[in-house]
Symmetry: C2
């Protein structure tokens, strides 16, 4: 009997990673979204219907549309089904574990899980299917629905796992960077929303050449540090002199959280994606737990609730159920 | 008997390496400068006298001062002798194989050879001496005499060999990047001079953020490519969208040379340092020879003489005689 249903998990992701603005992202082990794709021979071929949108405790879904063309998971699945010339339609059930506008790649997790699930359905039914790398452009179609622009620094690592460098987009050139064994991540998500478009509008159109040189020196150092498993070099390189200085104002208590994470032994600490989540990288699970607690405590005086996540980096590829 | 004399070789270097403006450099096997340091107990302690400046065929030395304070090799040696609190003075003999203003790190090769030779003299005489990494700041003192600014993207790899990333300068953070086994380099040096100060003055004070993102995406890709020994990725990453577009005009026939190198199979081709030398990286000796010939032929219609160099990257540390 041919399987008619597949469920896939795609994780939260940290984009930018301090000095890697717009070109670097990595996947966490948790949290993440789950999407179930069910083969539907009774609807138009290569079409998508969304029949369920549910989520974790306290996760709001107001404003997430259910029609496939305007839903990140739906649009990503549509793009893939059309590329595969699928002879059947697909029904999606989406379980979200992160709210939108969190800076943790919420839309990317949904789009990523959708293309991974649909791709597996294609494979199991003997239809043309794709490698994780080749799924990224379809995930990007979903991302574009949410953010208005096609980018892959969240949806790329959400699909492939690990640390992904987006060297360029013409054509898409995604480079897997090996994950150092001891690397862990603490994320604190304040319960406020920062619209990506708002965070983008703060970015200057031009930056001083000297600033750019500092940023690319740090990014080159970060890539070398990750590949050498040199935690001290990773730490020295985790400096963002471009986005963080202008975006920190959007996050209450950011500077206090960062100071607390560093004092607790983090290698580095910066804004996750366009915020408001704040991430810290560490060289042990224990240090990540300490950094998360320290950041949470530093945020307390600002009267903003938050959720903490402590996780290894998610090194493996797509996860299927 | 304690040795009284040491000769050291330091190689030509290619700084910037397309996308690594101001932060990346690598060493060639040849050409390079040689400096002989001789212990002189009969002059002021920790002082330097230069008694000879000679060089290869056709290498001009007009304008290179012989007093140590204003000579790159002399100043670098002075800085090192003072840091070591040397109880003796040193006499230097300098043999230059590249003219100044060539974009091949001529002053860095002299400064690098000087500190390596003097350091060995210190070691052999039981005086405090330094690791190659710790010699770099003294080499930079020499570089500052020639260019007016302290930078290490030439003198760093001239001293350590290999590929060196200068992540930052406060404090100096030099990161060794492993040299891919098959990597070769072709350099064509047109017989014209480009003053570093002139090349610097062309650089804009600010650059578009989008341009900066392209540059750091490429640099991150280049570091990953070098460390993965992924020659195709190295090739895709060797793009300079910041300096090359404004500096190409200083080099007659640059675009024709680049086109010729790429057509001959080079991984990438750009300006060496601030020019006028042009370098191409390849994945074999044969390809480097072809690229050098193709660039030379492309330059011929411009009626500019040139010298070609084909070399492996110089992977090992200081060379002593």
């Amino acid at each position: 009997m041919t399987p008619k249903q597949v469920t896939a998990f795609a994780p939260a992701t940290v984009a930018n990673v301090a000095c890697g603005f717009d070109v670097l992202g990595f996947a966490l082990e948790a949290p993440g979204d789950e999407v179930t794709a069910r083969l539907r021979a009774d609807i138009v071929a290569a079409s998508v219907i969304i029949t369920s949108l549910s989520g974790g405790e306290g996760i709001e879904f107001d404003g997430i549309p259910l029609d496939a063309e305007h839903n990140t998971a739906g649009k990503a699945a549509l793009s893939l089904l059309q590329a595969a010339n699928a002879p059947f339609g697909v029904e999606l059930k989406i379980r979200k574990m992160m709210p939108a506008g969190s800076g943790m790649g919420s839309s990317a997790a949904s789009a990523g899980a959708a293309v991974v699930a649909v791709n597996e359905l294609l494979r199991l039914n003997g239809i043309r299917h794709f490698t994780p790398m080749d799924l990224i452009p379809h995930g990007m179609e979903g991302e574009a629905v949410a953010s208005g622009s096609k980018h892959a620094d969240n949806v790329g690592p959400a699909i492939t796992g690990g640390i992904l460098l987006l060297r360029g987009y013409n054509p898409l050139d995604a480079v897997e960077i090996p994950v150092p064994k001891r690397l862990h991540c603490a994320v604190v998500r304040p319960h406020i929303e920062v619209a990506t478009s708002m965070a983008r509008s703060l970015m200057p159109k031009e930056i001083p050449l000297k600033t750019a040189i500092m940023q690319w020196g740090n990014l080159a150092g970060l890539i070398a540090g990750l590949m050498k498993e040199d935690y001290a070099l990773i730490g020295r390189s985790l400096n963002d002199v471009v986005a963080e200085p202008v975006r920190a104002q959007l996050i209450p208590g950011f500077h206090d959280m960062k100071r607390a994470a560093m004092a607790a032994g983090a290698l580095g600490c910066s804004i996750s994606g366009s915020g408001p989540s704040v991430f810290a990288l560490t060289d042990s699970l224990e240090a990540a737990q300490k950094a998360a607690s320290a950041m949470e405590a530093a945020l307390r005086p600002y009267n903003v609730d938050c959720t903490e996540y402590v996780s290894k980096l998610w090194g493996t590829g797509p996860k299927l159920f």
